[in-house]
């Protein structure tokens, strides 16, 4: 009896193996250099939760991208640069076969990876953080500060404030986290101050920023018309409470997109009411895509968020929009290099450089207004430069403006100059963008 069964069994095993082999070939790998614990763990949980949920959603809804299943492996960085490098090196071997864009959500880690990823030909996306002069693709072919950068955001905030009734002769305080993140927009604000003739005062806050009484005392003395606020983590709620204490009206305070999530305003209680911030993605579960993810992914019990109530928060939706862009890039790469096949870093790089996500396409995905339309090129790795201004009403974030574009003519030459300096320091020969297609 066994004599009959054995060959059958063997064939069966062989067939399964074959099938697995075939399946394995049609997988698109995502290296997830993420963080869910550590000082900023709460932020990472929402962002990477949203990211993974969308990948799951694509798998469940369409069976992957043209049949190519999305798979991923996570490595915990705890927002620590050295650990980030270790994780990157660990996932690199797999990512060299096929890779989605790499999201590290940490300026420090992205700085540490910018040269390595270019050498390894793995595209590094820095959505709303990271090295901003990578907008110039001729010097940074593999780095993509997609959607918008700190400088463009600062410029857009200035434009918004200008729309509220002129800026000439007004006083603006820039209160910032004294790190790479907080210092990036200073150049842009100084240029804007020259152009719009307002007075700019810079006030740094040392990391982590849970003590700001001296800074707010200074702000009270200066009595500025607006405070532009570049905080991160615990610094945000501290600032809101301190502003309440010295009696500075919160509706004259406008934060960056890393200072404008529920994690920042809810702990500040009623001190946050009226506070505004920039954002490049809206909050809420009434965006059709988010509602559908809730239905499809969480309905199937495959949701990544431990706390389902956080689905639809700013950072969750940001994670989803990061995943949307990554998946759109993979679609683009497949369209050029072969549908239904996994794509590698070089091919994804081409796709990221030739992204064209129109309003119509966003509508198809169900992501209308979740993020702005994006069109990238070799000379413009940013692709949009638009933000919305939102306001905290005590319970939720509500957008109070349409998409505002920063002053590109003013800001982009700054990137160009900075990228040229980088190229000179590192003796990189810039690519000629005119020849790229």
């Amino acid at each position: 009896m066994f004599a009959y069964r054995k060959p059958l069994l063997l064939t069966g095993v062989a067939l399964t193996l074959l099938a697995q082999g075939a399946l394995a070939a049609e997988e698109q790998f995502f290296p997830l250099v993420s963080y869910r614990v550590g000082p900023y763990g709460a932020n990472g949980q929402s962002f990477y939760g949203g990211f993974v949920d969308y990948l799951n959603y694509v798998n469940l809804k369409e069976g992957g991208i043209n049949g190519v299943k999305l798979v991923w492996e996570e490595c915990e960085t705890e927002y620590n640069n050295a650990k980030g490098v270790e994780c990157y090196e660990r996932l690199k071997a797999k990512a060299k076969v096929s890779t989605g864009p790499l999201h590290v959500m940490s300026t420090g880690i992205s700085y540490a990876l910018i040269d390595k990823s270019a050498e390894d030909k793995l595209p590094l996306t820095m959505m709303g953080y990271g090295r901003t002069d990578a907008v110039d693709g001729s010097v940074f072919p593999y780095a993509f500060p997609l959607v918008t950068t700190y400088q463009m955001q600062a410029s857009a905030i200035v434009k918004f404030l200008k729309g509220k009734g002129g800026l000439e002769g007004k006083k603006i305080v820039f209160l910032y986290h004294d790190s790479a993140y907080g210092k990036e927009p200073i150049v842009a604000l100084q240029e804007e101050a020259k152009l719009n003739k307002f007075n700019l005062t810079l006030i740094p806050v040392a990391h982590p920023g849970n003590e700001q009484s001296a800074q707010w005392l200074q702000i009270r003395q200066e009595n500025p018309d607006y405070v532009i606020f570049w905080g991160w983590g615990v610094m945000n709620q501290t600032a809101l409470k301190a502003a309440q204490k010295v009696g500075f009206s919160r509706d004259k305070m406008i934060g960056s997109w890393w200072a404008g999530s529920e994690e920042d305003t809810v702990p500040a209680g009623d001190a946050a009411k009226g506070y505004m911030s920039a954002t490049w993605n809206v909050a809420g579960t009434d965006v059709p895509l988010i509602a559908d993810i809730k239905k499809v992914v969480y309905g199937a019990g495959k949701g990544n968020m431990q706390d389902e109530a956080k689905v639809g928060t700013i950072l969750y939706n940001r994670g989803v929009s990061a995943a949307v862009l990554s998946v759109e890039a993979l679609r683009g790469a497949q369209a050029k290099y072969g549908k239904g096949k996994p794509v590698n870093g070089e091919q994804v790089r081409w796709a990221l450089e030739n992204l064209d996500i129109t309003d119509a396409r966003l509508k198809e995905i169900g992501a209308t207004d979740l993020l702005p339309p994006i069109k990238t090129s070799c000379a413009n790795h940013e692709g949009s430069g638009m933000v919305k201004i939102q306001q905290w009403d005590g319970a939720k974030w509500t957008p109070i403006s349409g998409w505002i574009e920063g002053n590109k003519d003013l800001i982009h030459p700054l990137f160009k100059a900075s990228a040229q300096q980088y190229a000179k320091e590192k003796s990189i020969a810039p690519i000629d963008c005119a020849k790229e297609s």
Binding site: R36, C75, E76, N81, E89, I114, K426
Partner: protein, 358 residues
């Protein structure tokens, strides 16, 4: 039986004064170096170089620097990361501002700059001791990081304050691949470690140890405290400075002042506590323990969880990793308070008698 110096007679001063007087030690060290220089580059993969070996060597060097100051000269310091930052920024500025300067010279310059800064912050050690000195060196930690953030000249007016290390070129050859960088770091660390080994058994090293054991007694027998302590600060900072330069140029590639935080200083201090105070070998063992164990746990735990079918998420693994790591540190401190190097020493003594312990 294997490890016994019986029968090894020294018939000249040179033979008596060599760095490793016992034949077995000499052979062991040569073998280790042969493996590190000859075999490892052939077998290790890119992940091993960039994520494990290079940081291990760099942190060993920093721990070695701190060990000279704390383990040998008895001056507790919490500023090691800051001196690394000085080294990193100094090497960057030497490369940037001095045309055509060889990179090795910048590394030495980085070490010397850090040594200079170290001497300044070592001055309080003449008046204060122990924990109070640790607090004074804490000032170095905060002041240096603040200084590098505050004055944009140090980062060549980069808008973010982050510096991006230049290419490492020696004699026209660019050290680009992880393997080449590993060999460069290994070379520098080997030379400096052997120098340290030599230094601590010289009259300088003996003076340090005398100061460590009791500075009044040391003064009575004619050791001048001021130069001795300051020299310890200078040499220690030199090592940390070179480690910092290597950290920027051969490991991360771009650094910001905030990266050299107090947290990093503490890690280096833990390395020498776990590895063994006053031991060159201990610096390496401690760096290996503190750096590599978390990575090992990070890889083994999910695998174990998978084996037993436990639903571990990434975050859970991280939490358990911290838990296990902390427990192991306590375990080692209770079982062997003198560090891993002491375990090795006990092992050597046992080997001397083996296999006839009576």
């Amino acid at each position: 039986m294997l490890y016994r110096e019986a029968g090894q007679f020294k018939s000249s001063y040179a033979a008596d004064q060599q760095l490793f007087p016992i034949l077995q030690d000499r052979v062991g060290v040569l073998l280790l170096l042969a493996v590190a220089f000859g075999v490892v580059p052939l077998v290790a993969g890119e992940y091993w170089f960039s994520a494990i070996l290079i940081p291990f060597l760099i942190f060993s060097l920093a721990a070695l620097g701190l060990n000279i100051l704390t383990g040998y000269a008895g001056q507790l310091s919490l500023g090691s990361a800051a001196f690394m930052a000085v080294g990193a920024y100094a090497a960057y500025n030497f490369q940037l501002r001095v045309d055509g300067i060889p990179i090795l010279l910048s590394f030495i310059g980085a070490g010397l700059t850090a040594a200079g800064v170290g001497i300044v912050f070592g001055l309080p050690s003449l008046w204060i001791k122990g924990f109070y000195l640790a607090v004074a060196t804490l000032a170095a930690q905060f002041f240096i990081v603040w200084c590098l953030t505050k004055f944009p000249w140090f980062s060549n007016y980069s808008s973010s304050g982050v510096i991006s290390a230049q290419k490492v070129v020696i004699l026209g050859h660019t050290f680009a691949s992880p393997r080449e960088k590993y060999l460069l770091v290994l070379g520098i660390v080997t030379v400096l470690a052997l120098m340290a080994k030599n230094l601590v058994r010289s009259s300088t090293g003996r003076a340090w140890m005398a100061v460590r054991d009791m500075d009044v007694a040391a003064e009575v027998i004619g050791i001048r405290l001021l130069p001795t302590k300051l020299l310890a600060f200078a040499v220690s900072s030199f090592y940390c400075g070179v480690a910092g330069a290597l950290y920027a140029f051969c490991y991360l590639g771009s650094v910001e002042p905030d990266g050299f935080s107090l947290d990093m200083s503490f890690r280096i201090l833990f390395m020498i506590i776990i590895g063994g105070m006053g031991s060159i070998l201990g610096s390496f063992l401690g760096a290996a323990f503190i750096l590599l164990l978390p990575i090992l746990l990070d890889i083994v735990l999910p695998w174990l969880a998978g084996l037993f079918g436990l639903p571990f998420s990434n975050a859970t693994v991280s939490h358990i990793q911290i838990l296990v790591f902390g427990t192991l540190i306590m375990f080692f401190l209770i079982v062997e308070p003198h560090g891993l190097a002491r375990l090795w020493q006990i092992g050597k003594e046992k080997l001397r008698l083996w296999p006839f312990p009576h």
